[in-house]
């Protein structure tokens, strides 16, 4: 009999997983809920709530990993403790908007329901996924709220893709990768990567902290607010065309980031901020689609770190040039790869200590805002269960600090832009202005 090369109830955490745990710890401490996100399907027709709940419960039961929690091994490497069995009891909430309001319910009512879902903490430390179904006349919104401890954005899509395949035809992938080595070798390689990351951060750091919006006062709500802008096919094509013309061929990500910096700069300027530059971490996932389908769990992202001089933010061509150059240099020096390697060294630090260490470079801050661009969805079907998908978007709670982020994400032919911020951080007028400025910069006013 051959011994299994891994333990079925243990999966070592990578350095990036540990950073996600730190961001979760910090966000939980500041807001009472962790570093969570929500993937939302806008569906045609009213989904059957009982059937949806029972099918999702049965599928979740197959994945005890989703009821695990972080622990530390005798060799000090952190790992994910996987229970022997999954729970068949999932959190599933149904809201019928058509029952209580008039039949022409607006998207604002739906958004309020979705915001309640994403801002509700998980019941206990072993719960990491919850579902919400909002139905209104002729439409449904199925939301999967998830901890970033168990999924990154594309993995959450891939998990739902797995569910859909299993539900449609009983097809379940046989090559899922759940194991991860302890990474307790090749120390010199990790130390050298750490040196390069250290140098990169020292270049980014100024004498003053980066420009940040103050976090809301403690008496303000601790939840996150969202604004969602969905560009349909023609507008999305126009944005791609504008990106090609202004930023260059296939330069949509730097174009979207520059537009976001430019829009947020106006808000900072409007409030009279003059000190500091902008620092923006950009999460990237350079796995190919087949890899995403195999590595469905935990985080498989890394980061670019952009620094934008405040005076460049007023000149869009200069801003674009700077962002493109930084992206090019960071690919050339493989900063994202070095961050993955160097972060393995950080796993020795307990979460509160690592949280403090991460703020040292930028004088008590971590970033001005978060940004990501996801160009390819991992969800393949055009339906969720029996209902046709109209749109799919994400609602991430941004780590606190900075507590604000802008996210671009493609879904079939749509391009969605999501503004996520702590309640009280922006006024209604400011959040509206950010979207107006974004539309102006993207050329689709």
């Amino acid at each position: 009999m051959t011994a299994l090369p891994y333990s079925r109830n243990k999966r070592y955490l990578t350095g990036i997983d540990w950073i996600i745990n730190v961001l979760n710890y910090m966000t939980l401490k500041e807001t009472g809920a962790g570093f969570m996100s929500q993937v939302v399907f806008e569906l045609n027709g009213e989904a059957d709530s009982l059937q949806t709940e029972s099918s999702l419960s049965a599928f979740m039961k197959k994945h005890p990993l989703l009821n695990g929690r972080a622990s530390r091994d005798f060799n000090l490497a952190p790992y994910w403790k996987i229970p022997a069995e999954g729970t068949g009891k999932i959190s599933f909430e149904t809201i019928h908007l058509s029952d209580s309001l008039d039949k022409d319910t607006s998207f604002d009512d739906v958004l309020t329901g979705l915001e309640k879902g994403i801002n509700r903490p998980f019941k206990n430390r072993n719960e990491h996924v919850a579902f919400h179904l909002i139905t209104k006349k002729g439409k449904s919104y199925l939301a999967m709220t998830f901890d970033h401890l168990v999924f990154d954005a594309r993995n959450a899509e891939a998990f739902l893709n797995m569910f859909q395949k299993d539900w449609e035809s009983g097809e379940y992938p046989c090559d899922l990768t759940i194991t991860e080595p302890a990474h307790l070798s090749m120390w010199m390689d990790k130390f050298k990567a750490g040196q390069r990351v250290n140098r990169a951060f020292l270049q980014i750091a100024d004498r003053v902290p980066p420009r940040v919006l103050p976090l809301p006062l403690p008496q303000a709500g601790k939840g996150f607010k969202f604004k969602i802008l969905s560009f349909k096919r023609k507008e999305a094509e126009a944005i791609t065309e504008n990106a090609f013309n202004q930023a260059g061929y296939l330069m949509l990500m730097p174009y979207a980031l520059s537009a976001s910096v430019s829009a947020l700069h106006e808000i900072f300027a409007g409030r009279g901020f003059v000190s500091g530059n902008y620092v923006i971490p950009v999460s990237i996932d350079n796995r190919k689609k087949e890899e995403v389908m195999r590595q469905v769990f935990f985080s498989n992202v890394s980061f670019f770190i952009f620094k934008v001089e405040a005076e460049l933010a007023v000149s869009f061509p200069e801003l674009l040039k700077s962002v493109k150059e930084q992206m090019y240099n960071q690919v050339k020096t493989d900063l994202p790869g070095d961050i993955c390697k160097a972060s393995l060294l950080m796993r020795i630090a307990p979460l509160p200590l690592l949280g403090s260490l991460m703020k040292i470079y930028l004088k008590g801050q971590i970033a001005s805002f978060s940004f990501s661009y996801v160009g390819e969805s991992a969800y393949e079907s055009s339906c969720f269960m029996n209902n046709k998908i109209i749109n799919m978007f994400h609602m991430p709670r941004v780590p606190v600090p900075p507590g604000i982020g802008i996210f671009f994400q493609k879904s079939k032919e749509n391009l969605n832009v999501i503004l996520s911020y702590m309640d009280g951080m922006l006024s209604g007028e400011e959040s509206g202005k950010i979207f107006d400025l974004l539309k102006f910069r993207l050329g689709v006013e």
């Binding site: 061929y249 296939l250 330069m251 990500m253 350079n286 190919k288 690919v331 050339k332 390819e376």
Partner: protein, 86 residues
């Protein structure tokens, strides 16, 4: 610049694009636009960095037009011409 040199550059780019997309090099058509193959901003910058390292040409600063970048074939012939003029 002869056709054989362009062919060598093209084959080298096909290998790079196949590696970026995790695909079999045989499935890469040099006439298909890169964005239709599924290359995004990050993959494209990876390709530019590879070209810089391999051919010592900084394409980001070279003033090439959008059409020059569009397919592996057009990119290969531009790289060939730039190498020849050096």
């Amino acid at each position: 610049m002869d056709k054989d040199s362009n062919k060598v550059i093209e084959e080298s780019l096909i290998l790079e694009v196949a590696a970026i997309l995790s695909r079999d090099p045989g499935s890469i058509d040099p006439e298909i636009p890169l964005h239709e193959m599924g290359i995004d901003s990050l993959g494209f910058v990876e390709l530019l960095v590879t070209i810089e390292k391999k051919f010592n040409i900084k394409l980001m600063e070279s003033g090439l037009t959008r059409n020059d970048f569009r397919t592996i074939r057009s990119l290969s012939s531009k790289i060939g011409a730039m190498e020849y003029s050096r």
